[in-house]
């Protein structure tokens, strides 16, 4: 975060309004990195992967919709046209198998009881 960003970040709302008026193109939101974003979420990681991906199907896939749609960014394309994934930081939402265009290429179950994401109490 630059010093200017830091200043903007800590300003109260009327001051932010003034700043916006002065420089409307400047983004006032200094966002956290994706790694830090996911680092704030509690995951109790089990030993069994609850997602499995059929690499052969992925190499033939032209859309690779899972790569952008997964809110946890778990699916990463490889140089040989495949997909690598990790299951550890999964929200267990189900978006990946919903958007997958090859029936059964993403096999998805719930993690074992007690494992996986744990959203915070207040």
């Amino acid at each position: 975060m630059s010093e200017a960003d830091r200043q903007i970040h800590s300003l109260s709302s009327p001051a932010v309004d003034d700043l916006r008026a002065a420089a409307p193109s400047r983004p006032i939101w200094a966002d956290v990195s994706f790694e830090d974003r996911m680092g704030l979420v509690e995951f109790r990681v089990g030993t069994r992967a609850h997602i499995t991906v059929d690499g052969d199907s992925c190499r033939g896939c032209t859309t690779k919709a899972c790569v952008t749609a997964c809110p946890a960014n778990l699916f990463v394309p490889t140089s040989d046209g495949g997909i690598v994934f990790n299951y550890e930081q999964c929200f267990e939402c189900g978006t990946c198998y919903m958007v997958c265009n090859t029936e059964g290429a993403i096999h998805w179950t719930y993690p074992d009881g007690g494992n996986g994401v744990v959203f915070h109490r207040s």
Binding site: H9, V16, R37, C66, P71, F91, G114, G116, V117, H120
Partner: protein
């Protein structure tokens, strides 16, 4: 058809483990278990998370009227963050916003209307009522499949615990939007991705006084803004609501359109937070948690069969979430359906017939109360509201119209509202027959 009588819990060796097994201790499951336990039935509630609500997030408001009969004076004890007294419906483009900003002091007083809460708090609280009434909560336990007898009738569930088979004359599947049990039972043959949206949310910490200043609130009043036009043309919307010491901001996105757009969900949240209407509300907030969940948005026409021999489904598992634009409700529908499932199960157990026919009281109850009445009434809403005209064309048109109305053009004389309206319709290239069709459908849906 032969009907197998439910086995009485008093029978000895062949006796099932419980009268009812409820899978999932979310609002639907806890309401079902609470009703059953109060009637003296032996209920087991399975929860795959370490505690109820640990897997759950939502887009903002619990409407508590459904709790009045279940938990008298629930407002004295429910883990409420704020009572929503300000409800904004926002239409936006990248540079404009037009808000219908409603507030009433009535919603901040008895008997209250909507509350913001954290689902791990709320779901644990409701599950606590079920266990107090005598339900057995087994957490950290995933139901991995159904147990069936030779006739195909559901007689229990298999869990991922060693020797973890549990039997009961009736299983109430409240296992959420991905309901593997409903699919396994054949009630929900294939999930159609077009019927689902992805909700992604950030919780941003801000000092209590700062929230009250920014949103114009006092005490435990809360604000909830629902937004259309903030998702880069992807069908869906956005929301901002206040907790006591944090603001939640998020987007809801058609999963198929999200996939096609090749945009990442958190980028759309970041764009929303940069919007001139939103930025001053969230500026400086420290990210506490990022979360995501699927939402069944297809409404009445995507609902699965609700019962089979030995099993009923409730809550998101049965697509009970109401996503109808002006009305965005889910927890209340989950509780209402869970309660009806519990009552129907009691009736079936007492009649010793937990076949699909014996459990028909579930559907009957839902038909008679708000759960299916509202869904039937609003069955056209999802398709209407997710159309590109409703999502992009009209929001832009309305904002431009407002801008035209309120931009002073001296020395050019003012145009009349009708002239401005026609100008914006022409600019937006809206065909008259499309407009007429949309107005008619809107009137039919919401009238």
């Amino acid at each position: 058809m032969t009907e197998i009588d439910a086995v009485s819990p008093m029978q000895s060796s062949a006796s099932p483990d419980f009268d009812a097994i409820v899978v999932g201790a979310g609002p639907a499951g806890s309401a079902a278990a609470l009703v059953l336990a109060r009637a003296g039935k032996r209920v087991c509630m399975l929860e795959r998370g370490p505690f109820p609500g640990s897997k759950n997030m939502y887009g903002g408001v619990v409407y508590g009227r459904i709790l009045d009969t279940l938990i008298p004076q629930w407002w004295l004890e429910a883990p409420v963050q704020r009572w929503v007294t300000r409800r904004g419906t926002v239409i936006m483009t990248e540079t404009q916003s037009l808000t219908v900003d409603f507030r009433t002091t009535a919603w901040g007083e008895l008997p209250y209307n909507g509350a913001t809460t954290f689902r791990p708090d709320f779901d644990s609280w409701l599950a606590g009522h079920a266990t107090t009434a005598g339900a057995v909560l087994v957490a950290s336990t995933t139901a991995i499949g159904l147990l069936r007898d030779a006739s195909g009738r559901v007689i229990g569930v298999r869990t991922d615990r060693p020797d973890g088979d549990l039997t009961a004359p009736v299983v109430i599947a409240c296992d959420g939007v991905n309901s593997f049990l409903a699919k396994e039972a054949g009630l929900y043959p294939r999930a159609v991705p077009e019927n689902f949206t992805l909700g992604a949310k950030e919780v941003l910490a801000l000092p209590r006084e700062e929230i009250e200043k920014r949103f114009g609130l006092t005490g435990n009043e809360g604000a909830d803004f629902e937004i259309v036009g903030c998702t880069k043309g992807i069908a869906g919307g956005g929301f901002i609501y206040t907790n006591l010491e944090s603001v939640a901001v998020g987007v809801v996105l058609s999963v198929t359109e999200l996939a096609a757009a090749k945009v990442r969900p958190e980028e759309l949240i970041a764009d929303l937070k940069r919007h001139p209407m939103v930025a001053p509300l969230v500026a400086g907030g420290e990210l506490k948690e990022y979360s995501a969940h699927l939402i069944p948005e297809g409404g009445y026409d995507m609902m699965p069969e609700l019962a089979c021999d030995g099993m009923v489904i409730a809550g998101d598992a049965a697509a009970m979430c109401l996503a109808a634009g002006l009305w965005l409700e889910g927890v209340n529908f989950a509780i209402g359906s869970g309660q009806a499932a519990g009552e129907a199960a009691i009736e079936a157990l007492d009649a010793r017939d937990t076949s699909a026919k014996g459990l028909a009281g579930y559907r009957r109850r839902l038909d008679d109360n708000f759960v299916l009445a509202d869904h039937r009434k609003l069955r056209r809403a999802p398709e209407l509201l997710m159309s590109s005209r409703m999502q992009t064309t009209y929001p832009s048109l309305m904002c431009n119209l407002a801008e035209g109305m309120f931009t002073v053009t001296n020395p050019t004389p003012k145009k009349g509202a009708l002239a401005l309206g026609w100008r914006e319709l022409r600019r937006a290239k809206v065909k008259f027959r499309h407009l007429a069709h949309d107005l008619y459908t809107t009137a039919r849906t919401f009238g």
